[in-house]
Symmetry: C2
Subunit: 242 residues, 2 copies
DNA sequence: TAAAACGAAATCGTCTGATGATTTTAATTG
DNA sequence: CAATTAAAATCATCAGACGATTTCGTTTTA
């Protein structure tokens, strides 16, 4: 009678694998400042830091690289990805349409299940930072806001990709008038809650565009040297599909 | 000995690592039909198939998973990702804005370097398939077309992510009127070559939307069972904790 | 002394082998 | 024949090893 064992066997994804824990910890460390862009990820270091074997560390690194958080060069190891100014612009360009989509979908789905509550809570939480100075805690809450938006939208693929984008926003939370920023959030949230798709999408896009423009006020020293124009490595071979 | 080797070492990443080769081969196998959606990726099998060690296989699998090509479940191994109908819709929704962006950017940059030549070549190549029946070779050329478009656009982040999307288009190249499809491509290409951003973006989006609609004519058997709406696995998250 | 050459150390890519955990299967039993 | 149990398969992770490549400090040389 006790299929109990079988009953409980369904989800099973409770425990995170070791590499996943490392990935998560490193990303968290990025948000908390323990890891910074450009920093080198040395396998022996991570091995002792997390008390795991090399294979585990390598898996974690590989995954970080695949997510775009780190970059790898053969025999030269991995670094926390350090965007050049133009790369940052590229990421924001993608974020513009991506978060725009999230906002539009969220506006469409506000009536479903607990979407409204969830989203409202995230928004309120975000708004409590209106008077606080920039902090990593703010970045966290802002990401939760975007995440709530994405989840409400209901596009799984978007959910999957959004974290990878957000990581790069860590360094863009500067040099932007706070009042303007929070005004953006409000407009966005109100449009979403009102179910106004067009407005929500436009507001989201506009906000990201503003962030992108604010990038111009950030000194070069914030970014990695831009090797774009120089030698566009024509990809020895068609890397992806043979 | 001589530093001559070092001089020439600039390109450096000429050779693909073993895991990368496996990843590529599996993806290629997907395009060629040797691997199918839902198929299980068993480590010992791959070990003997590619004559590499387990660690190497695992790295390849982890990377496939990170790219969204495969899914992993702890202690239950990896499968080639099999999209449900709604997941396919999600992916296409993202592709719509993503390829739209690529088209728009490409239209903007047609005057740069050899962009026009590169893109024109890809387009011509694609058009040679106008009378051919569907084939994996066509899928390959179509992806090259999209890739040329993306490269012309100049957004590095888009380049990075596009391959991960394209993989899922493998199964969507069916059940769609060919003439209509190639008409789409032509409109897209002409707008891009003419530098008409708005038109190019709209054409790209429209095309993907058409593909998405064509999805409705595909039987359920093509997709994985859709667990999305039904039981959001909120259920047994905390059954243990004994 | 500054630049080039050299060699040792650090680090990476990959392999082999091993152990415990978990799932899947096959066999046994009531 | 269903249910339980034992065996096999597979996975997660670890430890150690070896060659390849880069990095870095030291020596040599101009």
């Amino acid at each position: 009678m006790n299929k109990a064992t079988k009953m409980t066997s369904r989800p099973s994804q409770a425990r995170l694998s070791s590499p996943d824990q490392i990935v998560r910890n490193i990303i968290q460390g990025l948000y908390e400042g323990q890891f910074v862009a450009g920093q080198r990820l040395i396998e022996p270091d991570l091995m002792s830091r997390y008390a795991v074997s090399r294979g585990t560390v390598r898996e974690a690194i590989k995954r970080l690289a695949a997510e775009g958080v780190a970059t790898q060069t053969t025999y030269r190891g991995a670094h926390i990805r350090h965007l050049s100014r133009s790369e940052a612009r590229d990421v924001l360009q993608l974020l513009e349409i991506t978060i725009g989509l999230a906002a539009r979908l969220a506006a469409s789905n506000m009536d479903l299940l607990g979407a409204r509550e969830q989203f409202t809570a995230a928004h309120k939480n975000l708004m409590t930072f209106v008077d606080s100075p920039d902090s990593f805690e703010f970045v966290r809450v802002r990401n939760q806001f975007y995440r709530a938006m994405t989840i409400a939208g209901g596009n799984r693929e978007l959910e999957r990709l959004m974290p990878g984008f957000q990581v790069h926003l860590i360094r863009t939370h500067l040099k932007q008038p706070q009042n303007e920023r929070f005004a953006d959030y409000r407009v966005m949230a109100e449009a979403i809650l009102a179910g106004n798709k067009k407005t929500a999408e436009a507001a989201a896009q506009k906000h990201i565009r503003r962030v992108s423009e604010a990038l111009n006020n950030i000194p070069d020293s914030t970014f990695a040297p831009d090797a774009t124009n120089q030698q566009r490595q024509f990809e020895d071979e068609d890397l992806n599909h043979a």
